[in-house]
Symmetry: C2
DNA sequence: TCTATTTCCGTTCAGGGTGAAAGTATTACC
DNA sequence: GGTAATACTTTCACCCTGAACGGAAATAGA
C-alpha cells in the first residue's frame, strides 16, 4: 500500500458518486460517501482542474445561505461508441461521457464480406457515425455473436458470422479506428444494457438469455458480469437434456424451431411467426420449446439464484404472453425461487446500449475509477426521456 | 477512507501472509507483500504484543549474518471446532489456529432426538471433544444437511434430519456452547475443505457434488464460496430433465438408485453396493445414473466454468472407476471444457475439515483479517503428515 | 581471541494524506 | 445595512508509509 493509495481510492469514490448521482453539490458528496468536506473539496478541485468535472450553477433557491454549486461530469469531453454486431444487423449507439445517447443507427450486416473487408467496413461505419466527435472518441465496444475469451481476445463458436473468429478482424478494426476496442459476447453486452438501464435495473444478480438464431446467455453476479475463461458461462443450451441426449439449443433457438416446424410440413421464414401462428399442429412444438426453456430457466435459477431472468432476442416478443405461466411453472419446480422472468426492456438495443456501458467503463477506468466502483456507473436514468425508436432507426449504408 | 484504513489493510496483509506461509521472517514478509520493512516491523510488533504472533527461533543456519527471527501464528492461542452433521453420522474435528487438527471423532447421529435434545446432545459432544481447550474455543462451525439462508440463518429442505430446520436447534446450540456458531450447508463446507486441503487445492473456481442420500452441491468462484440467498446454488438436481419432466435428484441420489434397483426386484441396503454389483440387470440403472450425472456435470461446466469438479459423498468411491469416462463424455459435449472430474481427496472428512476452515475464517476475521484475504487462509499444507484415518475414528458416545 | 563482514532488525525522519475545526464567501431575511 | 444560515476553503494536528540510517547477531578468517 503506497502513499497515494487513499487519494486514488477517494478520487474513485467521488468520481463514482458524481457519475451515479448526476450534478451534485460538494456537500452532498461528502454526506453520502462519508468523506470529509475538506477531502471532497480537494479532490473536486483536482478533477475540475483536469477538466473531468464542470461546475453547473442552478441550485434551486429555496433556502437561504450561500448557494451550492453543483458539479457534473464534463459530458462533452469525450464520446464512446457501442456496437452490436449481429448476423443480420449491426446496431451502433454513440453516447457522451454522461451516457446520453447522441446518435443511433441500424445497418444490415454485409454477411458475405470476408474478415478484413468486414473490419474495414465496420471501422468506416463507426467513424462515419461518430462524425464530428471522432477526435474525442475514447473507446469503442463491440459485441460479437460468439464466445469471446477475454484473456487473449479470441473469438470462437460464432456460426452466424464466422468471419469475426479471424484474429485479423479485431486487429484491423482496432488499427483502423486508432482507439481502444473492447470486445465481448453480444449476450453479455445485452445483459449489461438491461442491468444498467432496463429490466434488471434493480437486480444484484441477473441472467439474460437471448433467443435468436442460436441461444445466447449472459450472467451478472453482484451487478458485475460473470464471464468464465472461455466465455461460455450460462450457455445452458449445451445441456444434453433433449431427446436422445441432444443439446437443448437444438430445440430452443430460431434454427431449432424452424426445423421442427419444417418436420411438420410447415415452412416458416421466421421463428417468431411460429409462435404467432394459431395452427393447432404447432401446439406440440410450442410445448416442446416451453419444456426446454423451463429446464434452462431452472438451471439459471439454481446456478445463480438471480433476482430476474431477462429474455431477449428475436422471438422474445413472441414469448411475452407466456412469461407469467413460465414464472409459475418455475416456482412449482423450485419453490424458493425469487426470480422474475421478464422480457428485455430495451428491445433490440440492449446489446448496443450494453456495449456503450462497457465502453464507458473502459473510459472511466482511465479517468481513475476503481474496478469495484464500475458496478454502479453510469446512472441508470441516463436514458430517461430518450427516444429508443429514433436510436434504432434503420439506415441503408 | 479514514486515517486508520491503511493500517488495517496492512495488518490484514501481514496476518494473511503469516497464516498462508507459516513461520516466516519479517524480511520475507516485506519482500513478498511489497510492504516496507518499517511497516512490517511496526505491524508485527503490534501483533506480537497482542499475542497473536509468536517468535520462533530456528532459522536454518545456511547463511551467515544475523539470524532472522521468524514469526508464526500463536497456534495455541485458540482452537476451533468443525462439525459435519449428517443423517447417519456426526463428524467433528478440533484444530488450532494454524489449522493443525488436534482431535477428530465420528459419532452416530441420534436421528430420533427432537430439536432441543439434539442441540443439547451436540453441544455436549462438542464440549467433550474440545476438552481442556474449551476456554480457548473461538468458534464452532456446523455443516447441516439442508439449505441454509445466511442472512437470517434459517434452515430448510433438510429431509434427512428435519429437526435442524427448527430455529430452536441453532439457538440452543449457540446458547449452550457460549461461542459464535457458523452454519452452512454441508456440501458447501465439503467444498471448502477440498478447496483448501484437497482436490480443488489449486483451483480458482470449483464445484462439488456430494452424492449421499440426496444430491448436494457447493460452488466456489475465485476461491470464495458462492452462496445464493436461499442456499440452493448449484443444486442442479432440481432440473426437470428426467423422464416425464421429473427432477434429476430422483435419479442420481442414494434414495433414487435404491428405488430403481427395487423396481427390478433387487433390494439393496446401500447405493454404493448397487454400483459394485456385477448383476447385468443393473447395467441400465447405472447407465441411467451416468446420463443424469452427465447433465449435472454439463450444467456445472457451463454455469461456472470450474477448473475442477469434485465428487464426494457415500457413493463417490463407487464412481471412481468411471471418472475418466465421465470426463471424456463431458468434453464431447462441451469441447472447451477445462474441468477435471475428481473424487474427494479428504474422503468423509471433507465436510468437517471445511467446517474447520469456516470456523477459522470467522476467528481470523475477528483478529483483523479482511474478507478478501480469507480466500487464501489457512495454508493448504496444514494437513500435511496428518493421519486422516485417525481423525475419523468412530467413537460410540 | 579478536576483528571484519554479512545479513538482518528496528528506528528516525521527511513526505503525503486525512479529518476536525476555524475561517471566509455568499445568499436570504429583517 | 445587519444578522443568520449555508457552502466551501484553509489551517493544523495526526496518521501512515517508504527510504535511509544505525544497531545487533552470527560467521569467517587471522
Amino acid at each position: 500500500m503506497e502513499a497515494q493509495a487513499p487519494r486514488r481510492a477517494n478520487r474513485s469514490t467521488v468520481l463514482a458518486h458524481v457519475l451515479t448521482h448526476g450534478p451534485v453539490t460538494r456537500t452532498a458528496i461528502g454526506q453520502e460517501t462519508d468523506l470529509s468536506p475538506a477531502t471532497v473539496s480537494r479532490i473536486v478541485e483536482v478533477l475540475l482542474d483536469e477538466g473531468l468535472l464542470t461546475e453547473t450553477d442552478g441550485t434551486p433557491t429555496t433556502t437561504r445561505g450561500r448557494r451550492a454549486t453543483r458539479v457534473a461530469i464534463a459530458a462533452g469531453r469525450g464520446v464512446v461508441c457501442g456496437v452490436d454486431v449481429g448476423g443480420s444487423n449491426v446496431r451502433l449507439v454513440v453516447a457522451d461521457l454522461a451516457a446520453t445517447p447522441l446518435v443511433g443507427r441500424t445497418v444490415p450486416t454485409p454477411a458475405d464480406y470476408d474478415a478484413p473487408r468486414l473490419a474495414r467496413w465496420l471501422a468506416d461505419l463507426i467513424r462515419q457515425t461518430v462524425g464530428d466527435n471522432l477526435a474525442r472518441l475514447d473507446c469503442v465496444a463491440v459485441g460479437l455473436p460468439g464466445a469471446v475469451r477475454q484473456h487473449d481476445r479470441t473469438v470462437c463458436n460464432a456460426p452466424n458470422l464466422p468471419q469475426v473468429e479471424d484474429p485479423d478482424f479485431l486487429r484491423l478494426l482496432e488499427k483502423r479506428l486508432a482507439v481502444g476496442v473492447e470486445v465481448d459476447n453480444d449476450s453479455n453486452y445485452a445483459l449489461l444494457g438491461e442491468l444498467r438501464f432496463g429490466a434488471a435495473r434493480d437486480a444484484q444478480t441477473a441472467v439474460m438469455f437471448t433467443i435468436g438464431a442460436g441461444l445466447g446467455a449472459g450472467v451478472a453476479i453482484e451487478r458485475r458480469l460473470f464471464r468464465g475463461r472461455s466465455g461460455m458461462v450460462g450457455e445452458f443450451g449445451h445441456l444434453p437434456a433433449g431427446p436422445l441426449g441432444g443439446a437443448l439449443e437444438q430445440i430452443i433457438s430460431g434454427h431449432g424451431i424452424l426445423a421442427r416446424a419444417r418436420d411438420l410440413g410447415l415452412p416458416f421464414d421466421n421463428a417468431a411467426d411460429v409462435f404467432h401462428s394459431t395452427d393447432s399442429r404447432l401446439v406440440p412444438v410450442k410445448q416442446y420449446v416451453e419444456q426446454a426453456l423451463l429446464i434452462i430457466l431452472t438451471a439459471a435459477v439454481v446456478a445463480y439464484e438471480p433476482e430476474v431472468i431477462v429474455l431477449g432476442g428475436g422471438i422474445s416478443h413472441a414469448l411475452k404472453p407466456d412469461l407469467g405461466r413460465l414464472g409459475s411453472r418455475l416456482r412449482e419446480i423450485v419453490p424458493a425461487t425469487a426470480a422474475a422472468v421478464q422480457s428485455a426492456e430495451l428491445g433490440d438495443l440492449s446489446g448496443a446500449l450494453g456495449a456503450v456501458v462497457a465502453a464507458l467503463h473502459s473510459a472511466y477506468g482511465r479517468l481513475g475509477l476503481a474496478e469495484a466502483d464500475l458496478a454502479h456507473v453510469p446512472q441508470s436514468d441516463a436514458l430517461a426521456g430518450c427516444d429508443l425508436g429514433a436510436l434504432s432507426a434503420t439506415v441503408i449504408a
